[in-house]
């Protein structure tokens, strides 16, 4: 046994020289052995020789360490009794107390947490269902426009909202559906909806954003308005890369427009669709909290409150930092599992991994 191992070890040192037809010692193996023996010394030596490259890495590492990884350490506060005056390491350990309050408590905080969790899922799920197909449809439409000038005009217009800040978007939304008062009438979109008979005068006059039943629709429609044009870029790129001969072949076979869509376009962009869908599912929980925060008010908490805004209300505005971090911890862990799961599926499904 030990003999065979010694022979195998010795074989590492020998290479077969084809020209002279003899075995000779492999000079590289000695180096490899040396590296193995003094691993860290070699690491240091490599770094010292190439120090400029590693110096370049330092600022980026520091920035991410300080402001992305140190907060994760701060997250340990969710296992502690929150105390503002002490650093997180010195706070009293409380185990899963904060989690227990959120998950099994019977007070309003627990109820609000579950409400926030449900709202997070519902908002992002509806956003996915309604928001996902529209960029694809837009890309199909863009493909119909053969004039480059006209198409870029359409593209410029539809990408535009994406580059406006959340504050601008939400301010516009707030103003356009605002409530009426004695000296002013309701927002112009509310009025248009009323003229179309979709809402009654009283409903519009009370302000759509003050009523919980409209929050989801407003959030999702404004989200589509904001993202659809920009989101269509990916699909449009996939569609224009289809070779024109594919269409010609289909046309010669007598395919109409719908048949071409079904048998030429759809199969060609299917992989893009799958990838984008998986990514979207992966980021299902990371809903833009800024937008919710700017659009909601105490009247609409019941449908609008998401986990991040819940944490903002209790942790930043209130004093329950431990409980707020526990809530975020749970939702972020679920979010991470979703991302990793989605990415694994994407890798298996199509050989393209996003990260």
């Amino acid at each position: 046994m030990s003999d065979s191992r010694a022979i195998a070890k010795a074989a590492d040192y020998l290479v077969y020289d084809k020209e002279k037809k003899v075995y000779r010692q492999d000079p590289e193996q000695a180096v490899r052995d040396d590296v193995e023996k003094h691993y860290w010394l070699h690491v240091l030596r490599t770094i010292a020789k190439d120090w400029r490259l590693y110096v370049m890495l330092v600022p980026m590492i520091l920035v991410f360490l300080f402001w992305r990884y140190f907060p994760m350490y701060e997250l340990l506060g969710c296992f502690k009794v929150s105390d503002q005056t002490l650093p997180v390491a010195d706070q009293l350990f409380s185990g899963f107390y904060n989690f227990k309050i959120l998950l099994m408590g019977s007070d309003t905080m627990s109820l609000e947490f579950f409400r926030a969790l449900r709202n997070t899922f519902v908002l992002s799920f509806y956003g996915l269902i309604f928001g996902f197909p529209i960029p694809i449809i837009l890309a199909l439409f863009f493909n119909e426009i053969k004039s480059n000038v006209l198409r870029s005009v359409y593209q410029v217009l539809t990408y535009l909202p994406k580059f406006m800040s959340t504050v601008i978007i939400t301010s516009l939304v707030i103003m356009l559906v605002k409530q009426g008062a004695q000296t002013s009438s309701m927002g112009i979109i509310s009025q248009a909806l009323e003229k179309l008979g979709l809402i009654s005068y009283d409903v519009g006059n009370a302000g759509l954003l003050n009523q919980p039943q409209f929050f989801r629709a407003i959030f999702i429609i404004s989200g589509i308005w904001e993202d659809a044009g920009y989101g269509s870029i990916v699909f449009f790129a996939a569609i224009i890369s289809i070779s024109p001969t594919s269409y010609e072949a289909a046309q010669i076979d007598g395919a109409g427009k719908m048949a071409q869509m079904r048998y030429v376009v759809l199969p060609s962009i299917l992989s893009t669709i799958v990838i984008m869908l998986i990514t979207k599912i992966g980021s299902l929980l990371s809903i833009g909290y800024e937008k919710v925060l700017l659009l909601y008010n105490s009247n609409t908490f019941i449908t609008a409150d998401v986990v991040s805004t819940f944490a903002n209300r209790y942790g930043l505005e209130g004093a329950s930092k431990g409980i707020a971090s526990a809530a975020e911890m749970m939702s972020n862990v679920i979010a991470m599992l979703l991302v990793i799961g989605a990415n694994t599926i994407a890798r298996k499904a199509s050989d393209t991994s996003l990260y």
Binding site: R52, L53, I145, S185, L293, V333, L354
Partner: protein, 296 residues
């Protein structure tokens, strides 16, 4: 060979032109409305007589805003944050991405994971807030009293942008770099004279992403900047909006313009810089979203 359009194709063409036009107009309309409403008289705005074009034109709302020192303050603060924030983010992103793009870098997998993990898992608002408070304390100890610098240095990092840069650098042909090294160029010179010029379009895209996220940044700026004179434009707009939503504040309003017009005027002023540079940079957008082929 010209072929006659079939009925189904014609119908689809008509549908796509119509719906696209409707959607494009929908995208444009709120901004047009904002411009019109900011230029219209009080009654026209309050009673929704403005639908598309301004009515009872006045420029008092703009005048009032331009005479407000706080507005110019906020505007210059936003410019400051955008310019310095973008430069700072670009510096460490380009340097880091360059190092990551080198196959010979030790622990390359680890560093990549270090970046990518921040996209998977974020600590959340509360821990981040506590972290920024500590950073603020440290900065104050060092003698940096302006919260602006905290926002510039500690915020706005994006792992995705670094990965975009890294992929662009990886595509630069080896031979050119080797030629530069033979000529005696150091690492920094190679980066400056070979890599940066050869991946101009990606750098432009990433610059754009950084600049837009800086220009639009709101939440953390509002949380961390305590001094009213250092507030950026987005925070200024939001606070003014909250103020004007309060009926008590606007009670006894006696002007030729509506309080809403001021908000609209502010919105217009905030989007004008984006609108001005927008047509020039629009061609870069498509590249930036093309991340499907990102490889590890």
């Amino acid at each position: 060979m010209k072929r006659k359009l079939e009925i189904s194709e014609l119908v689809f063409k008509i549908i796509s032109y119509t719906l696209l036009t409707v959607f494009a107009l929908m995208c444009l309309y709120p901004f047009v409305y904002a411009v019109s409403a900011s230029l219209s008289g009080i009654n026209a705005v309050e009673y929704n007589q403005v639908v598309l074009l301004p009515k009872d034109i006045q420029v008092e709302a703009f005048k009032r805003m331009f005479s407000d020192n706080m507005f110019w303050n906020a505007y210059s603060n936003t410019l400051f944050l955008t310019i310095f924030g973008t430069i700072w983010c670009l510096i460490y992103s380009i340097l880091g991405a360059y190092a990551l793009s080198k196959k010979r870098l030790l622990f390359r997998k680890f560093f990549n994971f270090f970046l990518v993990f921040t996209m998977w898992f974020s600590a959340g608002i509360v821990p981040q807030y506590l972290n920024y408070l500590q950073t603020k304390a440290v900065f104050n100890k060092v003698g940096i009293w302006d919260d602006k610098w905290l926002v510039v240095i500690a915020m706005g990092m994006a792992a995705m942008n670094i990965i975009l840069l890294r992929n662009a650098f990886e595509e630069v042909p080896q031979e050119i770099e080797e030629a530069a090294i033979v000529d005696g160029a150091t690492e920094f010179q190679v980066l400056r004279t070979v890599y940066i010029p050869m991946s101009k379009s990606t750098i432009a895209t990433v610059t754009l992403f950084f600049a837009i996220s800086r220009w639009n940044g709101y939440f953390w700026a509002r949380q961390m900047i305590s001094n009213g004179y250092e507030k950026p434009l987005q925070v200024f707009i939001r606070e003014l909006l909250e103020q004007y939503q309060d009926p008590e504040f606007t009670a006894g309003w006696n002007e030729v313009y509506s309080p809403d017009s001021i908000i609209y005027a502010l919105i217009v002023c905030s989007i004008i810089p984006i609108l001005i540079i927008y047509p020039f940079i629009q061609k870069y957008f498509a590249k930036g979203t093309n991340v499907g082929g990102v490889k590890e």
